[in-house]
């Protein structure tokens, strides 16, 4: 749970609703029927752009402006499921936003960032795609956490001041962490938001978040997300590279990163199949489900190395968690053996001796290659032990 991006469509719809305005827009999904668009799309000129959490769309030539409905439909049809590469991420275009096209002169910039002691407003009368070049013209206003924006004088023209204050209140009420309106303009005395980027705090906003561009979502990840949201413990799973040989059942938010750092340091980062962590004393059943999801993916994708490693837990019961992991291992014996999987284990914490003994027995009974270590073996040492198998 943390800061998560939401779609432009959802952000604008929420803002319009809070401001009591109409928001004419259509989010076209792959399942949408393009022959059944609302009436207004037939009568005015349109703007069409992908809405998949990535920016700089204009610079990538992915924004269609001043189009009639037929042009818009053609643009969407041509681009749907088209593969696009942005930086390191490659993904298909699936979601498009249709809005009324608006001829406009001024382009204003507004962003609000949630900082440690303040919420920071950045405003410029020269917004648009050149904002980074014009960054020195930005007006920056810091609003302390406990200060009401109503009590501040922003020193901008009155209708813009009103607008910024309303947006700021929505920002706080709706638990935004980042909100960028670039640009917005004023047409016939009314503010119109043209482009939006938004992040919200997933601890307070309970919704299904769209996936980051370039990431494929696996059902196993969804399952773990579901278990996580219903548990007092923390259980996370992210598949990074299903073709990687190295699969990981990691313990602890901090230790989990360090293990992947060390594997990367050996030059094996491209073999890391997944990230994940469990912490906060998950139950045996939760651990069983967690390990099962990872083993399922691992066996399907022909993984070779399994790390069940973590730090020295403060209060996560190693015996209970390893009971769950052992049960899952037993279920996948055949495939693990067939794939000639080697297991490396290192963990400390409450009841670790019993936990380690249990999993050692399980591995031995199943005839799996295994290395089982406790806290006397340091975190780097277990990676060293595994080094040979990794190359």
């Amino acid at each position: 749970m943390a800061r998560k991006k939401i779609r432009e469509y959802d952000a604008k719809r929420l803002i319009a609703e809070k401001l009591g305005l109409d928001y004419n827009a259509v989010l076209v999904t792959p399942e949408a029927d393009l022959e059944n668009l609302p009436l207004w799309t037939h009568t005015i000129k349109l703007t069409v752009k992908p809405d998949q959490l990535f920016g700089k769309r204009k610079k990538h030539g992915l924004v269609l402006l001043n189009a009639d409905l037929e042009q818009a439909k053609r643009f969407i049809k041509e681009n749907t499921n088209k593969e696009v590469t942005l930086g390191k991420a490659t993904d298909k275009l699936t979601h498009f936003l249709i809005e009324p096209y608006l001829e406009h002169e001024e382009e204003y910039y507004l962003s609000i960032v949630s900082g440690r002691d303040h919420d920071i407003i950045n405003f410029s009368e020269e917004g648009g795609i050149e904002i980074e070049e014009n960054w020195h013209k930005i007006k920056r206003i810091e609003v302390p956490t406990l200060k009401d924006i109503k009590d501040l004088d922003l020193n901008v023209s009155e209708n813009i001041e009103q607008f910024i204050k309303s947006i700021f209140e929505i920002f706080r009420e709706e638990n935004f962490c980042y909100l960028e309106l670039n640009p917005f303009t004023i047409k016939d005395g009314k503010v119109v938001i043209l482009d939006t980027v938004a992040q919200v705090d997933s601890c307070s906003v309970k919704t299904e978040f769209p996936k980051p561009f370039g990431r494929k979502i696996y059902p196993e990840e969804k399952l773990i997300e579901n278990i996580d949201s219903n548990s007092g413990a923390s259980l996370k799973l992210t598949v990074l590279n299903p073709n990687g040989k190295i699969w990981n059942i990691l313990g602890g938010g901090g230790a989990s990163i360090i293990y992947l750092d060390m594997i990367t340091n050996l030059g094996k980062g491209n073999e890391i199949a997944n990230y994940g962590e469990s912490s906060g004393n998950p139950s045996t059943e939760e651990c069983y489900q967690y390990a099962k999801a990872i083993l399922e993916l691992m066996c399907k994708n022909n993984g070779k190395i399994l790390f069940i490693v973590g730090g020295i837990a403060n209060f996560t019961d190693v015996r209970d968690t390893f009971k769950g992991f052992s049960r899952a291992l037993e279920e996948f014996t055949g495939q693990l053996k067939q794939n000639n999987v080697t297991i490396f284990i290192r963990r400390g914490g409450p009841h670790y001796l019993e936990g380690l003994e249990l999993i050692r027995k399980t591995c031995a009974n199943l005839g799996l290659k295994h290395y089982v270590h406790g806290p006397e073996t340091s975190m780097p040492e277990i990676i060293k032990i595994a080094e040979e198998s990794l190359s």
């Binding site: 406990l146 601890c203 990163i257 750092d261 990230y275 962590e277 730090g311 400390g348 806290p375």
Partner: protein, 589 residues
Amino acid sequence: MNSCELFNKSTTTFFYNLKAKPIQAMLDFDFLSKREIPSVAAIIHPGKKGYHKTFFGNSEILIPIYGDIKEAANKHPQTSSLINFASFRSAYRSSKEALLTDSIKIITIAAEGMAERQSKELLALAKQNNKIIIGPSTVGGIVAGQFRVGNAGGENENILKAKLYRPGSVGLVSRSGGMMNEFFHIISRAADGIYEGIAVGGDQFPGSTLLEHMLRYEANPHIKIIVALGELGGDAEYEIIEAKRSGKLTKPIIMWVSGTCASIFPWEVQFGHAGAKAGSEKESAQAKNRALSEAGIIVPESFEKFEETIKEEFKKYAQYEDIMEEAPNIGERRKTNFTSTISDDRGEELTYNKVPISKIISEGQSLGEVIGLLWFKKKLPDYFTKFIDMCLVICADHGPAVSGAHNSIVAARAGKDVVSSLASGLLTIGPRFGGAIDEAMKHFREACDNGLSASGFIEEMKKKGILIPGIGHRVKSKKNPDKRVELLKDFSKNFTSTKYLDYALAVEEVTLQKAENLILNVDGCIGVMLLDAISSEFSKEEVDEIVEIGYGNALFALSRSVGLIGHILDQKRLKEGLYRHDVGDVMYG
């Protein structure tokens, strides 16, 4: 306490939310560290009160439980810390209340998943009130040999292995709680162990930052070197760099920022901690490690080299003194099935609420004073004990015809022994005989506290169909007043407050207009005066408890036992035979 110390050997804390395991873990640490007093002063658990039984060493102790923060803080004004184990749903509210409680200075929040805006508000409130927050989403920390927060440091075996029961000279700070524990071990191998270790928590905006704790370590003369573990995401490390550059941090710092793997992943990976995601190149682990190193902070070549680097640097800046101090053995523990908090017969001398019996005798203490010790568990003021004595005398007997005495007499005449005959009489005490004190206390208190007028109260009781307990007498009336009530009323001039008595007399004034015998009777008078006395001497919660348990009727039962025994002895002396009721006196329907 120095400002560079959050906790020391005499620090005590509140523990919010009754969680037996971490509380026991803290007390075990206390024992292993040879603390004289347990670190948990009290437990706060909404809707609960009483005591929690737990081990300190191998003997059991009782930790008081309070229903809210305010009451706990009133009772323990010296307690400066609160460890909040509330869930993320309620942690904001309770932490805010703690921040606004003057005596509580340091709040540790364990909950994971607190909304960012709530964390920010708590943080701003803490700054406003000059308080310190550790967390949210943290396991806390340890000052070796002095104080432990919750589960930090794991099981006792771990405390011993990582030598956390006695101070070393390394200051440790980390985002991650798991890694903090890992480093307790690393530092016990590579150096002489930690002096203090804090995990600030993995959230976006931890209540206190890595730097804030490092600045404390800088000011703490016991700490020779500082070890810190950062993470990708956020800009906490750049604050450290600035402090290092401006000369605010001069002690050797060994620091590593984890998350170097993130750069090879195809998209921005959200790691386990909410704050662990690099939004920009500057927030990446590589950039931070580079910048730290450029600022003169010792950055190991990789995490793998961390332990070795600590070892080398420690040698340069501190001397390893092998502290031979051993931790005491906890020994065998045996759980008890009973708890007693009023008297102790195990020592040389019997004590009543810790007062030796010889002292009670030599001071010539009255039964009222002993009741203070054994019932109210404290030395009551003079007027209060005299009032009790007076009640005991006034209610001791009311002639042979009242139902309790009658039953005792019948039992005694049936040949039953003294104790059985007494029981027979005592068992008669109830709502219609002698047992109206508790009910009178309950109703008068509720009405008076709710601000009902006298006639409003009478009206309401009538609507409910309840006769007002403590009002009305069979024989006595306005013209023929009850002398006992007169004596009690007269004594009330010694009271510090007569709020409830005044209220009851106002009610009596109204009821007397309806009938002559609707006077405030002796039960009612004792009830309201007892209310006045306890309300002056005890907190609202304690008064709630006294009224609910039923101290009023207990007082009557004790007093009347004197008279009942008198009647029994009288009958036995008179050799009275079996009593059989006259059938002529019974109508057979």
